[in-house]
Symmetry: C3
Subunit: 352 residues, 3 copies
């Protein structure tokens, strides 16, 4: 048992080094066959230009996702620590897989785009991580990271390159995919004997404040997340502005409906930590389109409302739908990432 | 009671969506009458150029102000949570009000400047928020946000456009205005029966560490705050450099005088959390002028000293000026934002 | 005693103001003798171009180093608070010393490079700070800051300008220098009576989570640290990419070996907080060279392993090498910054 994790981690890292040795080169080593007018200095300029958006996304991955899940007081270390482990593996494997698939098996030339796609692949795994936190061992997480990113890259290639679907903020390929994948794994790992593990999932005062660090860094930098893979220029500008206004509108409706559905009109920290982010996910698919600021605000407002109702609706089932409510409680952090699917997803899983 | 907050929040969000639908457009839709040589790509370049300074200010608003006020152990959730709510409303209303006033009722074209001014309007409300934390309901906060930003934009238009006063870091229009507004509201809300509420205002070990997160993000990014609305180029360079040196000098004098005025030379966390920021506020008005690095350091040094003395001077009144000292204790977080006015403000309020 | 700290701090700040008054000017005031084709606007462009990398390093200094050391539950305030004090003095003194030495006593023209070098000088002192935390008074820290930065700048001038050694990430001049300097000071300050102070050094659940804030901000922004003084363009691109891949590889081996050396395969938070950073230090010296991504990953992997073994090896001595193990426990935070020297440094200090 002790050896298993160490051996798996070392084998994976050695494999990454071998794969990178054979397939990955600097961007500046690329022979310019396709774009003969792109010099090395143009590439490097582009690298530094996108670097600050990339850093925003990087902070979301490590601080945002890492601290978001510290709200469970007994999983504080696990969530921040395992988050870092998964992300470190995910960045390498995601960079490689995405590069190999999109370059059709040719050498990968590491630029800012590859590093961004590494981060996005990792985000998918971290969303699924929320669904299985506390039920899965670090070794299983490493294996899941490898499998899920392979599936994600394949799916993303299909959606983006074959179907040519527009999904700039990757709401479908990242958020929906990550949430469903996590639920599927959680379903497989489900053990009825774990049912009384509820008390481990309580939150505490300080753990909720730590979770707010995660929420805020995700909330603030979501416009960068939705715009970082957009075409530079007008599209990128629109993706930033639209996401920004969707997020601010979402906060107001999330608070309003949180107060409405809770006893004595009190705000629920779980809604504040989660539903406020729904605006970023909801606008993701069309963030680079001309939906106008008020359009973004309408999308964000609805996302905030749906998200709070999703949470509440599931809690209603708490008493009489044992395993399901337990399941959804466990999955609190999964829903944080993609609340819009609450109602649909709820049904298939009531039978577990 | 329960309905009131939800209804107010929803009505406000609907109003924002309607106002934005009528008045707000993308910057790239603007017909270039005034600046015929500005193409869309120039505007978008400018957007991305200022985007990283904007993100710094954004972090100050949400993480900086949000966590700064978590030092009161019973108001941790309130401060971070309500901070997010107010800021989300303030960004929308501030963007609209500022745009309408400066465009004389014409359509607003959303660029990075509008978004920055939204953040600055919000900062004003968050400074006032410190004065009323624990005494005001979320519903009242929403109403106060609407009123204060309207007053702020009017005042800022008067100072900047009519009087043509120089106030690059907005020390007068934001910090002084926000502090006085908050004190006025707190005075109106004052109830003698609340006097024994003191124990709610205690800080705890961990809550003080959370507050340091707020302090540090405010301190580090203050040069961006003071330079973000400066003219690009030399003025912006000077605003960054001057604020930077004012802040570092301020830390040393704040620590020195904190140790001097406290028993047995111990440092007071309240001074560390607050007085270290006085340097940023103090240099704000003249940050883009040629005051030289040593000039900034002198301004910062004096700000640190005045701020610590302000805190200490007020505490002296603790015993024999009941309501006032209580009042000022409550207002700890107000003073964090603008310490230079301690002594002046102290007087008018002794009569409460 | 009470006066001593205040007097030293005030005298130092007054000295800084006088030195800056005589020697420091704006970059835009520089008469262009050496580079006649560099106009003011070119300089200012360069300033803003490097500003976002500079901000990353700034966050590392204040949030990264500050929170990294909060893992000792009784030193939370000291570490964040004194970190801010030292850094504020270090930035001023480092900017001055580095400028005077590199300009051969001529006037210093403050640009982004000077501000970056101020941050790097400060990093050296903060690494040493880890070794003496809890054993040194704030007054002594101020004096140590002055002496160490003077020594650092002299050493850095020798290594970089006279020997022309390559050390882009400053692994030798900053990390090794800082670690040894701290150990030397700690050795001088060593008092056998402090031996039973062990219980003060315990970490607590929440303090470990605060320390993770420091770890993550250091980890995420280390590529900026290693690239910020590189030549702009291809060198900077390589320094970012190489450090990035060294860091991700390091996380996997650090976790694998942490699990291997600990009882029942559990992960040790101390390893997670520290060894994960070894990859950034290890690749520092050669980060801007063409070592290829897989080369960086090999360097990072080895750094992770060596770092964990360093920690474990020292703990083995816990029982029978009293002062030394005590010493090294105290110095936990020193090792966080430079683990590669564990084994060498261990020997000279067993005799204390």
């Amino acid at each position: 048992m002790k050896l298993k994790f160490s051996v798996v981690a070392i084998v994976l890292e050695v494999a990454m080094i071998i794969l990178f040795g054979y397939f990955v080169e600097y961007e500046t080593e690329q022979i310019n066959l396709q774009q003969p007018n792109t010099t090395n200095s143009t590439k490097v300029d582009r690298f530094l230009e996108l670097h600050s958006l990339f850093q925003d996304v990087h902070v979301m991955i490590f601080v945002g996702f890492g601290f978001l899940m510290t709200f469970l007081k007994n999983y504080g270390f696990s969530s921040v620590g395992i988050n870092l482990l998964i992300a470190a593996l995910g960045l390498q494997w995601g960079t490689f897989m995405w590069g190999i698939v999109h370059n059709h098996g040719q050498k990968i030339h590491i630029g800012i785009k590859n590093m961004i796609n590494g981060d996005l692949s990792t985000a998918t795994v971290l969303i699924s991580f929320g669904a299985v936190l506390g039920k899965i061992s670090p070794t299983q997480m490493l294996v899941m990271t490898i499998l899920e990113i392979a599936a994600f890259v394949g799916n993303e290639y299909l959606v983006g390159e074959i179907f040519k679907a527009s999904d700039i903020g990757a709401s479908m390929t990242i958020h929906a995919f990550g949430a469903y994948f996590g639920l599927a794994v959680a379903g497989i790992l489900y053990q009825p004997s774990l049912r009384k593990g509820h008390e481990m999932e309580k939150s505490a005062y300080h753990s909720d404040l730590f979770a707010m660090i995660g929420t805020l860094f995700l909330w603030m930098f979501w416009p960068s997340f939705n715009s970082v893979i957009a075409e530079t220029g007008e599209k990128q500008y629109m993706a930033i502005v639209n996401t920004y206004f969707s997020l601010v509108a979402c906060v107001l409706t999330a608070y309003a409906f949180s107060s409405l559905v809770e006893k004595r009109g009190r705000l629920d920290m779980v809604h504040i930590q989660n539903a406020t982010l729904a605006g970023g996910v909801a606008v993701g698919t069309c963030a680079d389109m001309k939906i106008h600021p008020y359009g973004s605000m309408i999308i964000g407002s609805i996302a905030g409302i749906v998200s709070v109702f999703g949470f509440k609706f599931l809690t209603v089932y708490h008493g009489h739908a044992g395993s399901c409510s337990r399941f959804f409680h466990r999955n609190g952090s999964c829903w944080r990432a993609d609340h819009r699917f609450n109602s649909q997803v709820h049904c298939p899983w009531t039978t577990i």
